[in-house]
């Protein structure tokens, strides 16, 4: 209704002349009504009906919006038929008023309906004649792309936040104390070698793992502690398809009363489900790390072959993810927690590895080349 109204009014604005032309009948009826001659109620009803019928014929034949608008003005306009009728009806004898009023209302409603229908018909016809090549390219909104490493970091952090872990962080230039000593790493452990770890002249290092964040957190917070720490770590590896000078890890630490390996296994299993889907199973294997005891390596059942065996999992059905374990009593003692009261677990995983598994990226170096054609895929 609104649309038609608008169309009509706009048509009216520029085409006053032609509208007058095709409305003779209405003008005649209107003039008779306003001329002062008395008309019987029956005649009045007849004329209303005739006018409506006429309107229908004309509107059915109308070829454009101007013609429809002319009819509308003649019927509904300020000087139109129904406006004139409404004045005449005021003089109709009381006993006939009801019938005439009914004819008036029905007639006006009917006329409005024909007007609406005609307007809609003409608009549709106009729409139907419009045509564009919809296969031309759209004007795209530029949509950015997050780096796949950060997509994985965000996903991991989100999953662990849901389990109540809070994100902690620490500096990348670390002390030997936080990176090794406090984590129960023997003084002559090979990982401390200058061939494996980047050193600075002042004796500090680039952290080789996110684990020093554990130390920083525990030394500044009373237990319980429930954190994850994503971040960049550094190993003195010559870059190749699976190694880089730096990569990213996410570390988890939970210290509380009565934390057991069952808690560790369940948190890792929940993570696997959320990250890779409900069918992914977790497998723990005993291992050794200086900072945990018992220590495990954990595998996820292969998400490519669902554990049946494929080239990605080297036919084993499982993919090695990373290490975990129950925090070594020495580490707890080092940060001033009493291992007789507190126990807990820690785990770590490599973000690049998770990203490469998720997206089947064959070479870690692609992640640091930043080719547009690579980045736009994520």
């Amino acid at each position: 209704m609104n649309i038609i109204g608008k169309t009509i009014s706009s048509a009216l604005a520029g085409a006053q002349g032609p509208i007058e032309a095709g409305t003779g009948l209405f003008t005649k009826i209107t003039e008779e009504l306003t001329g002062g001659a008395a008309i019987s109620p029956e005649e009045l009803c007849t004329r209303i009906n005739r006018a409506v019928t006429e309107a229908q014929t004309r509107l059915a034949a109308a070829a454009d919006a101007d013609e429809v608008e002319a009819v509308r003005i003649a019927l509904m306009g300020r000087n139109g038929l129904f406006q004139a009728l409404s004045k005449v009806i005021a003089d109709v004898p009381k006993e006939a008023k009801r019938e005439v009023g009914k004819a008036f209302n029905c007639g006006r409603a009917q006329a409005q309906k024909w007007l609406d229908e005609a307007g809609l018909r003409i608009e549709r016809a106009a729409d139907a004649s419009e045509s564009i090549d919809v296969t031309l390219p759209g004007r795209m909104r530029t949509v950015g792309h997050k780096h796949p490493i950060n997509i994985i970091v965000d996903d991991c952090v989100e999953i662990f936040r849901r389990m109540g872990f809070v994100v902690a962080s620490g500096p990348e230039i670390e002390t030997v104390r936080n990176n090794f000593d406090q984590l129960n790493t023997p003084a002559d452990h090979p990982s401390r070698d200058r061939g494996d770890t980047f050193y600075f002249a002042d004796g500090r290092i680039l952290r080789t793992q996110t684990s020093p964040v554990q130390i920083r957190t525990m030394e500044s917070h009373e237990p319980p502690v429930r954190i994850v720490a994503p971040g960049r770590v550094f190993r003195r590896d010559t870059p190749d398809a699976t190694h880089g000078m730096n990569f990213h890890q996410i570390e988890g630490l939970y210290i509380d009363r009565n934390v057991s390996m069952a808690d560790l296994k369940s948190v890792l299993q929940s993570f696997a489900w959320e990250m890779y889907g409900k069918e992914v199973k977790i497998r723990l294997r005993p291992h050794f790390f200086p900072f945990t005891e018992p220590s495990v390596e954990y595998d996820f059942s292969c998400m490519m072959c669902k554990g049946k065996g494929c080239p990605v999992c080297k036919q084993s059905g499982y993919i090695e993810i990373a290490g975990a374990g129950m925090v070594d009593p020495n580490v707890l003692r080092n940060v001033g927690y009493d291992p007789a009261i507190w126990s807990g677990f820690a785990f770590g995983m490599g973000i690049e590895r998770l990203a490469m598994l998720r997206y089947r990226i064959g070479d870690i170096r692609y992640l640091y080349e930043n080719d547009v054609r690579f980045l736009e895929q994520f």
């Binding site: 950015g144 000078m245 369940s266 299993q269 005891e293 080719d371």
Partner: protein, 799 residues
Amino acid sequence: MIISRNWLKKYVALNCPVEELCEKLTAAGIEVEAVEKLGSVPAGVISAKILERTKHPDSDHLSVCKVTDGSNTLQIVCGAPNCDAGNIVPLATIGTKFHTEEGDFTIKKGKIRGVESFGMMCSEKELGISENHEGLMLLPENTALGRPLGELLEEDYRLELEVTPNRPDWLSHWGIARDVSCLLNEEAHLPVVELEEKTATVEGLVTVSAPDLCIRYIGRVIDNVKVCDSPKWMKDALQAVGIRPINNIVDITNFVQMELGQPMHCFDLAKLAGGHVIVRRAMPGESIVTLDAGRKVELNSDNLVIADDEKPVALAGVIGGEFSGVDRNTTSILLESAVFQSSNIRATSRKSGISTDSSYRYERGVDYDMAEFASRRAAQLILELAGGQQRCAPVDVNSGRPEEKTIVCRFERIRALLGTGVANGRIVEIFRKLHLKVADVTDESCVVTCPLFRLDLEREADLAEEVVRIDGLDTVPLIAVAAKSVAPICEDAIYTEQKLRDQLVALGLFECMHYSMVGAKSALSDTRFTEKDLVRLDNPLSGELAYLRPSLFGEMLATVERNISRRNLDFSFFELGRVFCGNAGKHPEERMELCLMMSGRRAPEQYGHALAQSYDFYDLKGAIESLFRKRRYANWSIEPATDGRFIPGCTAVVKLDGKEIGFLGELPTELTQTWRTPYKVFGAVLDADALLAGKTRSDLYKGFSLFPASTRDVAFVAESSLTNAAVLEFIRRLKLPNLESAALFDIFSDEKVLGAGRKSMAYKLTFRRSDGTLTDAEANKVYETLRKALAEKLHVELR
């Protein structure tokens, strides 16, 4: 660590297939990294019985045999001396493929000197089982006929194990057998050693002058040995684990090391000046030429050596010297079985760059008790395989047996740590099967005495690991994960950083990531820094990558150049990352930075006019403005500036809360001229810590007027130097009533029309009241005030 399955079987019965064995080892923490089948028999070789042997009509040494595979009888021509009727032998049937060093061949039906032959009966050598080629391989009398030989023979497998550094006791077949016995529920047995010891003693055979580094040294002298090749079984055993046989004496030392985990060494006694050994620290200036590659190693007092009267003859625990080793002329030997201090051996090995099977074991720690047994075991084998006699009783120089550690094991504590319900009895059973001594067992606890081969066991947690390792981590149950919060989420360290990154991505930028290590050129391409500002690594991977990035600028330039060289010309990049500064006066050591770079076409997917549009300064500036608006910063501006990284006339400084937090601009030609792109490149570097800390406007809801606005346009001609910011600031300061906004809608300069150095600017002004409809008269009044002010105070020419 490589072991052979058949060798392992000498100590423990393996009642399962090799696949299952591997699975069990891996599940118990001895990860099997690879399994290799050794010396496999070709398919097509079956067991067959010789029924009849007749002489070949046309040859003296060939026989014609009738052979059955149980269902068919075949005629085979054979040259072996033992192809007698009744023997069951391997038969290579027609079609069997052999892969030999001389090349591949296939058994075919053939005629040998006129007699047809339908296959080949084989010797052990022909099957690759051994070197024996004296006759056909004979199978036991009760062997089923027609069966593939591969099934009948117990083939050997080589298992490659990853042994974690805390478990040196796994670096031998015996050590693995001990765990396997526990996993398979079989008893493990040490080899039986029966050795008659002499009682006579010889003084001065072994002197230990560095007892801190040499914990135990057992020496034996054996005279009249005959050095020759080892017997086949010994060679086979060593070859199965990848060790090259040398001679019987050397082979025995290697064999015992692989069997018991105790490194052994043999000296040719005749080559030792003074006929004895001294275990001492090397003296300054001493050196030794090693046995392996004849390398000369310079020594100092940190190195423990075995010396004779004149010189070091071995680098203790690492490698022997070139001139003291056993050779084919050796008759008297000194057999060493020793325990050295592990960290000293590790340091020597690392410093000298020599790593041997021996140093590998000493570094991790060898068993004090095993040194003695291994010495006897080796002596027994030498007497057996090389003959000779012991000269005297063994010399055992030691500083006393280390004390065994005892651990109180509280069963409940084990269960609490593991989260399993493992029973007390099972815990004790596991300890005993692992050869740990268990005493004082009560309902609550037991006392575990850890043998000297298990120095890794120190605490209850270590015992818990043993329990779960043997019972399997599968026994640890999955329980419901509580979404437990022990600290408020507002302590979350990266939340704000993640949000900033998300906002940058929402602006249509592509996120990049670069290495933290950079070369000097990349580092200093950001002209804010000089070499003394850089953080330098002491041991970089290469001179080229010696610095930690002081800025994201250099590597982003490299990424831009890389993309352009790959014809990716349209991009808008950002990186949000840590940068480092070694000059505390300039920046903190670690901080977060944001770098943006963009170039190319705005809408590369478009066509016609839209396609021709490329990024300019205002696209980059707009990205920053959008970001700042989204972040609701309260107080910021972008103003004209100069900066060494950008073209002078196209540079702006970004100010936030009154501080300069970065610059943006167009990259200078000297950087971009070699890049094959027609488009300009724009970049920005901003202090991300400042972005994260920027003060924001109130986030309370602010109402807005629902009354209609009226607009007026004002255009004027001004000097070219008049900036948009100056005009807007001028209007703002007029504090005109009901002026809602003023915005530039057109700007142009045309020398012919406006004159040189002049431009036309046009602004749309929007007026609105908050408390009612603004009348035309009211709007006009304000508008006239503004026009007048522009003309009189800003001195522009109204149009």
